[in-house]
């Protein structure tokens, strides 16, 4: 079946501009995660969605970052007034559901969006 997809695959923008990154999770997956992969920082968690709500936004680095999810499916990560330090690969992952206490479902990752801020 179709895996997690992300668009665009590459995005080059100028400092100060806003960008939107899109994630299409695997159909039926209720949990959705955004991570950032950058040089020197490794892979960092940004935000978690269960359905359309985001009970854990603890990884968002500043208030310039926001995300939403609609219809329990597509998610958009928005970065306002981009800075050069925002340059990274942004990864989205989905899983069937997040189970507390009984283990963690496998997360399926998308190919990522490479963001370059000039």
């Amino acid at each position: 079946g179709a895996g997690v997809s992300q668009s665009p695959s590459n995005k080059v923008t100028e400092k100060g501009k806003d960008v939107e990154l899109r994630c299409d999770p695997i159909s039926g997956h209720t949990a959705l995660y955004w991570y950032r992969q950058s040089l020197g920082q490794g892979l960092e968690f940004l935000i978690y969605f269960q359905g359309n709500s985001a009970p854990d936004k603890s990884g968002l680095p500043s208030d310039r970052f926001s995300a939403e999810r609609t219809g329990g499916s597509v998610s958009t990560l928005t970065i306002q007034r981009t800075q050069q330090e925002d340059s990274a690969v942004y990864l989205c992952a989905s899983s069937p559901l997040s189970i507390g206490g009984a283990g963690t479902d496998t997360q399926y990752f998308g190919p990522g969006t490479r963001l370059t801020v000039l």
Binding site: L43, Y48, G100, G101, Q107
Partner: protein, 112 residues
């Protein structure tokens, strides 16, 4: 504090040699440990998880709670094992969101 440490950025071995990718963690609670792998030009994917106690592609990893380690091992490396390997943990509490905390990653290079 929750933390995953992979001390080696790069591990280079010859084909047929044993491989051990190190991973240590700190977590105040009951963690679940994973190894994820990213082959060249492919997406990040799960290799194995400690709960399953499986051997995948000849790799095994045992959770050692006393040493807080989850090292990845393979007795005979193959060239196709060359990739970036990430150790990750998630909490198993009822409040767990399933988010993964990753180590910095280790690049495994298997030379012919």
């Amino acid at each position: 504090a929750q933390r995953v440490t992979q001390p080696e950025k790069l591990l280079s071995v010859f084909k047929g040699a044993p491989v051990e990718l190190k991973c240590n963690y700190s977590y105040s609670g009951s963690p679940e440990l994973f190894w994820y792998v990213q082959y060249s030009r492919q997406r990040l994917q799960l290799l194995l998880r400690h709960i399953s106690r499986e051997s995948i592609k000849g790799f095994t990893a045992d959770l050692n709670k006393g040493e807080t380690s989850f090292h990845l091992k393979k007795p005979f490396a193959q060239e196709e094992d060359s990739a970036m390997y990430y150790c990750a943990l998630s909490g198993r509490a009822s409040s767990n969101t399933g988010k993964l905390i990753f180590g910095q990653g280790t690049t495994l290079q298997v030379k012919p």
